[in-house]
């Protein structure tokens, strides 16, 4: 039926959908390659074929099996889960706040998480959880707290995009100041730990932590995807979205809950990783447009790809050394992004 007239709106729609589907499929394939490389690289380099057989539990060498399953795979998959969370939350925030610079980093949520982590590291705050989880739980709670503060500060004035952005930026400075104060009073050992946490690292990943991050993300995904059309409408301006019958206040609140939980889970275990949440949505937007049915999963995929690639780079840039992932994402990502923005216009149509 689509072949009656290739220029009909229906035909255009089907072509557009097919092209976007192909872009997502390509991204997934590249991600698979990245994860394989990520699992292959490290102090003991493994051939991709060895990785593949180990993943299928066919490795003859128990050592290889242990390296892949106990050490490398949780890290490689954590990069995917955290990258996806940062990418998706970045896209939601940029849409809801109508601001291309919005990300969990720029509106103080990462700063809140950093403060929460530092609080436990420096003061050893007593939380009723196992010690290994005290820092992540505190980071998570403060990320959620930061999100609530953004809402409480920006909300009474109608929770418009502007008030929320301003509230977020004010909050970022507040948490950074409090974090600096903690660092000022910290012992040298604690200070080193805090700084290292702030760099971000995937190396602390375990299957349990991975399950928590992935579980939260997967549980939240249907919730935010149900709002995909409403979020798309928001791109046409608040007035038009309201005229289309969308309750803006509720939509913003649901979006912020998603952002709080997903960002909180992501940064809690790996520390603050900037740049991914900012850039992944832009990458996805260039390829997929702003129909949020595509943009949200696309941003998650782009974030996963970026962080997975950064994880590979962090192990290979200086052989033998492991550069903190948070540094690599910016060092490698910024030139790449600048090149991308300067060399491509919209690839969409």
């Amino acid at each position: 039926m689509a072949d009656i007239d290739a220029t009909s709106p229906e035909a255009i729609w089907h072509r557009l959908s097919a092209r976007r589907g192909a872009a997502i499929a390509t991204g997934l394939a590249v991600l698979l390659v990245c994860v394989t490389l990520d699992t292959a690289t490290g102090p003991a380099m493994l051939a991709p074929s060895v990785v593949a057989s180990a993943v299928m539990r066919l490795a003859e060498d128990p050592m290889v099996d242990a390296i892949v399953w106990s050490i490398r795979l949780p890290v490689a998959l954590m990069a995917v889960a955290v990258g996806a969370a940062l990418g998706a939350t970045g896209a939601v925030m940029q849409t809801v706040l109508n601001n291309p610079l919005a990300s969990s980093y720029t509106v103080g949520i990462s700063a809140g998480a950093g403060f929460g982590a530092a609080l436990v590291i420096v003061l050893g705050a007593a939380l009723p959880v196992p010690e290994a989880f005290a820092v992540p739980v505190s980071a998570f709670l403060f990320a959620a707290l930061a999100c609530s503060c953004v809402w409480l500060l920006g909300g009474p004035r109608g929770a418009t995009a502007e008030t929320l952005v301003l509230a977020g930026i004010a909050l970022m400075f507040l948490f950074q100041a409090m974090l600096a104060a903690l660092q000022f009073i910290a012992s040298p050992e604690a200070l080193q730990q805090v700084v290292f946490w702030l760099f971000g690292s995937l190396q602390r990943a375990t299957w349990t932590k991975l399950a928590v991050v992935a579980g939260i993300l997967l549980a939240m995904a249907p919730m935010i995807m149900r709002d995909a059309w409403s979020l798309t409408a928001l791109r046409l301006g608040e007035d038009r979205a309201a005229a289309l019958g969308i309750g803006l206040l509720g939509l913003r609140l649901r979006a912020l809950v998603f952002v709080a939980l997903a960002t909180g889970a992501a940064v809690a275990f790996v520390g603050t990783i900037g740049f991914v949440g900012l850039v992944a949505p832009h990458l996805a937007r260039m390829l997929l447009g702003e129909d949020q049915r595509w943009l949200l999963p696309g941003s998650a995929l782009a974030g996963a790809l970026l962080l997975s690639a950064a994880s590979v780079a962090s192990k290979t840039i200086m052989p033998g050394a492991l550069i903190p992932i948070g540094i690599v994402t910016a060092l490698v990502g910024v030139p790449f992004f600048a090149w991308l923005v300067l060399s491509t216009r919209r690839v969409l149509s």
Binding site: T7, S8, P9, E10, I12, W13, R15, L16, M225, A228, W229, S230, T232, A233, R235, L236, G237, D239, R240, A242, A243, L244, G245, I246, R285, G289, E290, D291, R293, R346, L348, S349
Partner: protein
């Protein structure tokens, strides 16, 4: 169907944007809302659409629910990386899930064809001219099949040909489907030609309301706009307005 405004009053802080506006619009009738800049036209449309809180008065809609009100704000969306078809489909938002049903796609395509912009379907909003975007947003509004059409300066960026065909289409739909249509518009000649009734706002008050030839007189135009205009009968029976100079100016 009938839309009644009873003593509608809207405040922006201490400033009174609308005061005691009352009039009725019946199904099948196009009402042109005219008035100088800042006279409260957009505010009135927003209040009817339920987007603007009013300090007093009521909006009563008989024969349809509030969901049946379709409001087209002035031009927005130029920065969104959305295609025309996606934009129009948003008018059908309630019927869409992750998958877009074929019937909904067909309906959106049909509205695009009706407005003569089917070839734009795959283009991005930001690539369009202001006039093309106005047609796209009208398509979005029509796709939702509203019973009340509130259009805020829908022709401000259109050339005369598109202005005429858009207003003719809106009038045809209004009469054919028995819609209530209110169009805020600056072009007095277009108002005289296409509206069944004209409502003239001035400083938040309804200065005059009724048939075009009753409202668009030299005296009311001078009073509302401070402009001298010659009003005469055009050969086709409509009235034509030729503004000549601003009163009080050289």
């Amino acid at each position: 169907m009938r839309l009644s405004l009873r003593d509608l009053t809207v405040h922006y802080g201490k400033r009174v944007a609308l005061e005691g506006v009352k009039f009725d619009a019946r199904g099948g009738e196009v009402v042109a809302l005219i008035g100088p800049n800042g006279s409260g036209k957009s505010t009135l449309l927003r209040a009817i659409a339920g987007l603007q809180r009013h300090a007093g008065g009521v909006v009563v809609l008989e024969g349809a629910t509030r969901e049946a009100i379709g409001f087209m704000p002035q031009d927005t969306g130029a920065r969104a990386a959305l295609t025309v078809l996606e934009t129009v489909l948003l008018g059908r938002r309630r019927a869409l899930g992750w998958r877009v049903p074929g019937a909904e796609l067909a309906r959106a395509a049909e509205v695009l064809r009706q407005l003569g912009i089917a070839t734009l379907a795959g283009r991005l909003l930001g690539e369009l001219s202001g006039g093309q975007r106005q047609l796209v947003f009208l398509a979005q509004l029509l796709a939702a099949e509203p019973r009340v059409l509130l259009l805020d300066e829908p022709t401000s960026a259109l050339d005369i040909r598109h202005t005429l065909s858009l207003l003719a289409l809106v009038r045809e739909l209004t009469r054919g489907r028995g819609l209530v249509t209110i169009i805020a518009i600056h072009d007095l000649n277009a108002a005289a030609r296409f509206a069944d009734r004209v409502a003239l706002l001035c400083e938040g008050r309804l200065l005059a309301e009724g048939r075009p030839d009753g409202v668009l007189t030299e005296a009311t135009i001078a009073r509302a706009y401070g402009v001298h205009a010659h009003v005469h009968a055009a050969p086709d029976g409509h009235i034509a307005i030729s503004p000549s100079h601003a009163l009080g100016a050289a």
